[in-house]
Structure formats: structure tokens, C-alpha cells
């Protein structure tokens, strides 16, 4: 019983640690998108698409952690 709880807690901590990097990455991507859009509003559509793509790539790591929590 003790071990199960410790293991579950460790999984959550591991996921939390794994989510730090993607969080920072998406933050930087969003910053870049906002700044770029403010400087050149006519490019907003393409910048937003690139932002979504970059955010999706960064988010993949967090999602892998999310899956690992369930399957481990």
C-alpha cells in the first residue's frame, strides 16, 4: 500500500518535472508570436500557424509524460 502511494506520487512529480520544459517552450513561442504580430500585423495568420506548429512540437514532450503516467 505504502509503495503504491509512493509510486503514484513519484509519477506525478515526474510528470510535473517533465512539463516544465514544454511550458517554457510554449511561453517563448507565444512571446515570439505576439511580438512578431505586433510588429507586422499583416503576417498574423502565418505567424499563428507557425506558433501552433511549434507549440505542438514542444507540447509533444509533455504529452509523452502524460502517457507515461498512465502506462507505467
Amino acid at each position: 500500500m505504502e509503495t503504491t502511494i509512493v509510486l503514484a506520487a513519484l509519477k506525478l512529480v515526474g510528470y510535473g518535472l517533465g512539463a516544465i520544459g514544454p511550458g517554457i517552450g510554449i511561453g517563448i513561442a507565444c512571446y515570439g508570436c505576439c511580438v512578431g504580430t505586433a510588429r507586422q500585423p499583416e503576417l498574423a495568420g502565418r505567424l499563428f500557424t507557425n506558433f501552433i506548429l511549434g507549440a505542438a512540437l514542444a507540447e509533444a514532450l509533455a504529452l509523452l509524460g502524460f502517457v507515461l503516467v498512465f502506462i507505467l
Binding site: G45, R46, T49, I52, L53, A56, L57, E59, A60, L63, L64, F66, V67
Partner: protein, 270 residues
């Protein structure tokens, strides 16, 4: 469960009610065909409901098409379709986007309607189950690979996974990385949608339980201060609900635009 609702300590009440909330998200059988292990789960029922609603909306809106839409309903549906066509299709895929619009629009409206059905208290989003999001992402995955093979030919598509213009020794290494990131797309598409919808609805449910247990504990003779906390939880709930409405739209948009980006990456010659 009557005993849990008469407690004065909201934490004890929650420890009995939260597992019940979690169990309500399980995809157990509503109808099972004998003991075969096959049946209809609640998520399948909601997916069928979404299918019927999307079909009904499009059939009704498409029945009397005029050059200038003269009813508000038709105008609304056309606006949604135009958004998928222009902002997602033309903006992302560019040249030759027209043949991909039907799939993109289907994905967008299915996910959007199913996410919004999930916002009705008591109802579940069909996309809040991993099986249905797997199915959606496999459809997208097979689709963009099919068009990639069609555009480049089998061997050409395999070569085009690595970007061109690399120095020769780097090509196999980059190819492996790009290949992994290509295969992982099917997982990330599915899990992103599922995670957002499931976690969001779970958070909504937990905040709703917090609100009701805290107010119940005051009714049952607990500390009056819990009544004030209950109002704070209610405000959180309203805030989360607004956020979930945004997320419901955004996830449908993100899923569709990512499918469009993947189609573009697979078919464009670079």
C-alpha cells in the same frame, strides 16, 4: 451514498464523492451484446449523437443554398465552413487546398460539436475518451500519409521525410529524428485532445463538487465559514467554465490546423 451527504466535514464528503465522479468518466457499457465483451459505451452514444447533430445541421443549412445567405442559421454555418476553408485550408496548405477541405471541415465540426456537448452539465464530451481521439488521429495520420505518398511516390515520400539540402553524412541521423517525430504525431494528436477535454471536465466536476459539499456542510450544521468558501469555489467554477468554452473551440481549431500543417508538410516539395 446517503451517509456522505449528511456529514459536516466537506473533506470527508469529498473523499467519498470524488471516486464517484471519476467512475462517471469510465467508459463502461450502456448496452452490452450478450456477454461478448462488445457493446455501446456512453462515449460511443455521445459520438453518435454528435454525428447526428452535425449531419442535421449541415443538411438543414445546405438544403436551400443561395448566393447571398438570407437566414441567420445558414449564415452561421457558412461562416464556420468559410473559416475552415480560408483560415485553415488556404492559409496553411496553400496551393491545392480544395480537395482537403472536406476532411478538415468534418474533423473541425465533429470535434467542435462534441466538445460543446461536453459543456452541458451531466453530458460527456465524446472527445473526452482516448479511444475516440485515437480514431480521429488515425484518420488524420492515414490521410496525410496517403497524400504524401500520392504526391512524392513511395520511395520519394520516405526520402522527403528528411529536409533537403543537408550534408550527406547528416541525412540518416536527421531522417531518424524526423521519422520519430512523424510517427509520434498520431500519439500527440490523440492525447492532446483527450488530455485537454478529460482534464478540463474533471476540473469542472471537482469544482462543482467542492461548491456543493461546502454549502451542504453548512446546511448540515458545519462551520458557517464554509459558506463563504463555497462562493469562492463557485466563482472558480464559473471561471473554469469560461476557460473550458475557450478550450473547447481552441482544441477543435488546433486539431484541424495541425492536420492541415501535416498535410502541407507531407505534400509540399521541399
Amino acid at each position: 451514498m446517503e451517509s456522505a451527504l449528511t456529514l459536516t466535514n466537506p473533506i470527508e464528503m469529498l473523499s467519498e464523492l470524488v471516486p464517484e465522479l471519476q467512475a462517471s468518466f469510465d467508459s463502461g457499457f450502456l448496452i452490452e451484446f450478450g456477454n461478448s465483451g462488445y457493446g455501446i459505451t456512453q462515449y460511443m452514444a455521445y459520438a453518435c449523437l454528435v454525428w447526428v447533430i452535425v449531419l442535421a445541421i449541415v443538411m438543414v443549412a445546405g438544403r436551400k443554398l443561395t448566393l447571398v445567405p438570407n437566414s441567420k442559421f445558414v449564415n452561421m454555418v457558412e461562416y464556420g465552413y468559410q473559416m475552415v476553408r480560408n483560415s485553415i485550408g488556404e492559409g496553411t496548405i496553400g496551393h491545392g487546398y480544395k480537395k482537403h477541405v472536406p476532411l478538415l471541415a468534418t474533423l473541425f465540426f465533429f470535434i467542435l460539436i462534441s466538445n460543446f456537448i461536453g459543456l452541458i452539465p451531466g453530458a460527456k464530451a465524446a472527445t473526452g475518451s482516448i479511444q475516440i481521439t485515437w480514431a480521429l488521429s488515425i484518420v488524420a495520420f492515414v490521410y496525410f500519409n496517403y497524400w504524401g505518398v500520392k504526391a512524392h511516390g513511395g520511395w520519394g515520400y520516405i526520402k522527403s521525410i528528411a529536409p533537403s539540402g543537408l550534408p550527406a553524412p547528416m541525412v540518416p541521423i536527421i531522417w531518424v529524428f524526423e521519422f520519430v517525430s512523424l510517427v509520434i504525431r498520431v500519439l500527440t494528436l490523440a492525447v492532446r485532445l483527450y488530455g485537454n477535454m478529460f482534464a478540463g471536465h474533471m476540473a469542472l466536476g471537482v469544482f462543482a463538487l467542492f461548491t456543493s459539499t461546502f454549502i451542504l456542510s453548512v446546511v448540515n450544521g458545519g462551520m458557517p465559514a464554509f459558506g463563504g468558501l463555497s462562493i469562492i469555489w463557485l466563482l472558480f467554477e464559473i471561471f473554469m467554465y469560461a476557460l473550458e468554452t475557450l478550450v473547447a473551440f481552441l482544441q477543435a481549431y488546433v486539431f484541424t490546423i495541425l492536420t492541415a500543417v501535416y498535410i502541407n508538410l507531407a505534400t509540399s516539395s521541399h
